[in-house]
Symmetry: C2
Subunit: 241 residues, 2 copies
DNA sequence: TAGTGGTCTAGACCACTCC
DNA sequence: GAGTGGTCTAGACCACTAA
């Protein structure tokens, strides 16, 4: 007795894990086509139904996506899921208000102790610093401070390289650094004099602060970003059930 | 030709819809046991596998939950999913810091025009108002203003009725009003003099504002709540993939 | 022991994509 | 036409619950 169910991991879980291992260890990167259901079933010696269940679960978790007639692909990170998108929605009833970004400053710069530590550099290291403003209808609502590991994006401090509003795709293509996931933390604060001036609000007005840590494969952090936005342009909605 | 696929709704979608209809129209309420897989399959004239797929989907959406050997139940709303829980976590490394609530004021009170409108009452209506503080280790970090439809919770203004920290379960049991879902909106602001005094912070310090609309069946709104908390005790984390 | 959900298989048929 | 995923069925066997 009590031989019980120590290690009864369902087969479909093992299939999921097999795929996730390939993703986490970089054998599969975002955008890759994975083997078809029949091939996986044969490889792993399970039925196609079991493979289907595993893939369905990973699709539900947004780790994969499927196209009928084409195949199953590894998901690409989607920054539309950022908390960022809750700035200035609900403005004039509709959605889809686009935030335009503009570079204000870009150069190599000594990072603070805290930021160097976050990016796993020794204190006083030189990092790549990019400062941008975010605008809606020419009104600034955001300030963004972004710090990158300089040797991963060599030359990005030069003006010749165009920085698009969503810069991650550019980083992937230009420098071959896969962007795998981000963590965001949202808090609130009040505007200091400098921030207030940039955002066109009174000093001590409320602002929303969004800290983002962005990672490449193997949990290597590649960017530390702090975005400060006007609180009156931010509202985050959620449903509870 | 072009008889195409106008109305090819998959069978499992229809099964999902059948269950959801029962829930939305109050024939099934939170906590209810629904028919077993074989019974549903026979009722709806589909295979058990199709029923299983439909129920799996609804479980994924947290509309149902299942217990092996017992059956499938309609989910009860879970306020642990509230944005509220991001107050004062990350304090001292660990989770599980409980927020104690204390009633400061409870009485019938004329609501503002805005609140009367939200609760679908004529202006100048008398509503039930409850004001509470939220405390961690005897330090106040929250103020909560709660407005209820008075005829749904008759007598709740009297002190004889104890108000627990999580008051929704009490409302369901005492007044038989099912609480079905809530919508929350998060923004930031600065503390006015009164709020600052209560929270023990300086006037104009940053605060986080959480507005909650709570609904009973048939989309009947039963509570409007505004919670104001110290921003330095709030941080909301999310992952992007 | 009967009834429930959980896992796994085998196979049919369809819709979509690409060559 | 070959290959992919999407839907649906039928049935075996197991694990858990309750009486």
């Amino acid at each position: 007795m009590n031989h019980s169910n120590e290690d009864h991991i369902p087969l479909y879980r093992r299939v999921e894990q097999h795929i996730l291992d390939d993703i986490n260890q970089g054998r599969l990167v975002p955008g890759d086509l994975i083997p078809s259901e029949p091939k996986l079933a044969k490889q792993l010696n399970v039925s196609q139904g079991t493979v289907k269940k595993a893939l369905d679960n990973l699709v539900n978790e947004k780790r994969l996506y499927r196209h009928q007639g084409k195949g199953t692909y590894v998901s690409t990170i989607n920054f539309n899921n950022s908390l960022f998108r809750f700035f200035s929605y609900g403005d004039a009833s509709g959605h889809g208000v686009r935030i335009r970004k503009q570079v204000i400053e870009r150069r190599l710069k000594i990072g603070t102790k805290h930021i160097c530590q976050q990016l796993d550099y020794p204190p006083e290291s030189e990092l790549l610093y990019i400062k941008r403003g975010g605008y809606i209808h020419d009104q600034q609502i955001l300030i963004e401070h972004s710090w990158w590991c300089p040797e991963l994006v060599p030359g990005l401090e030069k003006e010749e390289i165009h920085i698009p509003d969503l810069m991650y795709a550019m980083v992937v293509e230009t420098f071959g650094v896969p962007v795998v996931r981000s963590e965001e933390t949202l808090t609130a604060d009040i505007a200091n004099q400098q921030t207030a001036k940039a955002l066109g609000i009174k000093e001590n007005s409320p602002v929303v602060v969004l800290i983002r840590h962005t990672y490449s494969r193997n949990n290597k952090m590649i960017e530390y970003r702090k975005t400060i936005g006007r609180a009156d342009k931010f509202s985050y909605k959620a449903e509870i059930r």
